[in-house]
Symmetry: C2
Subunit: 380 residues, 2 copies
Amino acid sequence: MNAPQEPPVTLLPTGFIDLLQHEAEAEAQGIARIMDVFSQYGYEQVRPPLIEFEASLLAGGGQALSAQTFRILDPDSRRMLALRPDMTTQISRIAATRLAERPRPLRLSYAGSCVLVGTPGRDGARQITQVGLELIGPDSAEADAEVILVTSSALSALQVANVSIDLSCPNIAKALIATETFTAAQEATLIQALDRKDVAAVRDLGGTLAPVLTQLLRATGPARHALEILTQLDLPLSAADEVRRLQEVVNAVWTADPTIILTIDPAEFRGWQYHTGLCMTVFAADVREEIGRGGRYLSYEQEAACGMTLRPEALLKATPPVSLKKRVYLPHGTSAARSHKLREDGFATVAGLNEVSSPCAEARRLRCAYYILQDKLVEV
Amino acid sequence: MNAPQEPPVTLLPTGFIDLLQHEAEAEAQGIARIMDVFSQYGYEQVRPPLIEFEASLLAGGGQALSAQTFRILDPDSRRMLALRPDMTTQISRIAATRLAERPRPLRLSYAGSCVLVGTPGRDGARQITQVGLELIGPDSAEADAEVILVTSSALSALQVANVSIDLSCPNIAKALIATETFTAAQEATLIQALDRKDVAAVRDLGGTLAPVLTQLLRATGPARHALEILTQLDLPLSAADEVRRLQEVVNAVWTADPTIILTIDPAEFRGWQYHTGLCMTVFAADVREEIGRGGRYLSYEQEAACGMTLRPEALLKATPPVSLKKRVYLPHGTSAARSHKLREDGFATVAGLNEVSSPCAEARRLRCAYYILQDKLVEV
């Protein structure tokens, strides 16, 4: 038997990549821009660590990501550590501990890398960047709307084109279903049918709720159209409350900025594991995957919270290319004052470390757009 | 026996911390500022992943950090992954693979988090941030000097006060020692004595080299003074070459910027495990630990390289406090146009999500310096 061949040391594991110049700059600048907009709305940056005790990271809502979490044994504490698969749990922990005494509403923002175990054989990203905000304390339509408005403002600042924010509220259908006596299995099958928008199956499985549930499926699309249908449905009190809240959120958003595109998909359930009210998914027309997601949930000690997490890897596909500084080649011996002035003027100076016969050719070789000749800036 | 009590889920493992508002902002802004200066000198940003195959991360110079590296089994490849304890090895890999065809000098910059296993019982940081640059290709005094100049420029941009850069060159003493026939044990003891600046021990152990080695110990301190001594020593050819190179580096730095404070410690060996020439340690007067370190080394396939890694955690102790946007409380119902204008003017707007009886009291409660009253900006 041959020993298994070691792959070259230059290979990266599936799902982990190098970002090179333009990509790395775009990510860094994009994150900085988003965080700046968050700060303009009074969101204060926190930076939790990459690693925590497993028990902390997987507490509460974090439990949902347990199977996607890498663990490591800590030689110091002899306890299991975990690499964060998500940052929301960390922000909740900070809000409930070090910032417990801070007045509410508490507005926090964060940016950082997370690591997922991934699915063997699939080549999805396993290191993902998250940039997000959490509005902790209030439970109101105004608070939900603020999360949407700030998100929209950040995406505008990045010139992400054709953004739409899809609102869903699994509680509407759940409140309806709770009025009937389904078995757990029936209920699960019915929810799957709703999630698939399978009208025939919903009719079959819905019993006396079939008419209202099929109407609910029709209430999908632009928010104005969907709300017209939703507000006319004959709903039990708690479901009607959810619809009213949805209407209030849409009104509050459009009062502040009527250009924001909102859609509604009331019967979406997928991926909303710990959310307790409004759920939001952010799309840009030219990007297949979602560029952000968020919603209302309960933070530590059942404190109300609503948040949004943006995914730079996805959303930067919909932004204009990042502009880099123009490079100027400085022949060896160019004065420090001259090169200082060029940097002040916004150029990147590329110093010649030795004499060359043709500064122009050397500038071209080093991908510079300009070089200095007799103290003058000359185009290559 | 009682079951061991689980600590509260809010506790963090030793060496991992949360950065809150001012600290998190200072780190983000400081890193962005340093990276911007690097880009002004033509350094192009790359962003390698947090995790690689163990074999890649610990190749070459990376081996030195093996004992400080966390490993994880990858369920996808069934191979060992490692969390990077340092980024230099990653930059070397990128230079030798995806950027192999790029013309040299290749100038790369990077910023990111690294994780160390740490020493059980000690409470040093286990997550550290690195911001650095690598100048790959040339092996010359001009290249060494550029690394010093760009570092100094970045620290000036951050207003780090009283920076000094300490230069050492273990090769001078090693070249001297190689001219005598010491046993390996004798050599190790002698190097330890030199490193400790233990003149008596160096005299005892140095044999015929004792006079020149004790002179070498005297050549410590401000660069001008140290070089006066070093250049007058009677040295073997290779050690004299190292001194000449050191003199050239100092001259090149001072030609470009005579205000840079350089010191020399020719007999320092600690921590320089894979360096092949000049070694640099950066200090600021008010910070006990070093704020950066770097030097000349051989990259993949023996390519010449010189680099510098700055430690924001340390250097931000020597920078002026970060200035945050002034917060303005907006009573519920403030117009979108008004709040937009305030953000454009550089304020952070804190929206009132409901009516309050005293906007002034609410502004104070939410740590705002101002609030809006009848469309006017009023100080709290």
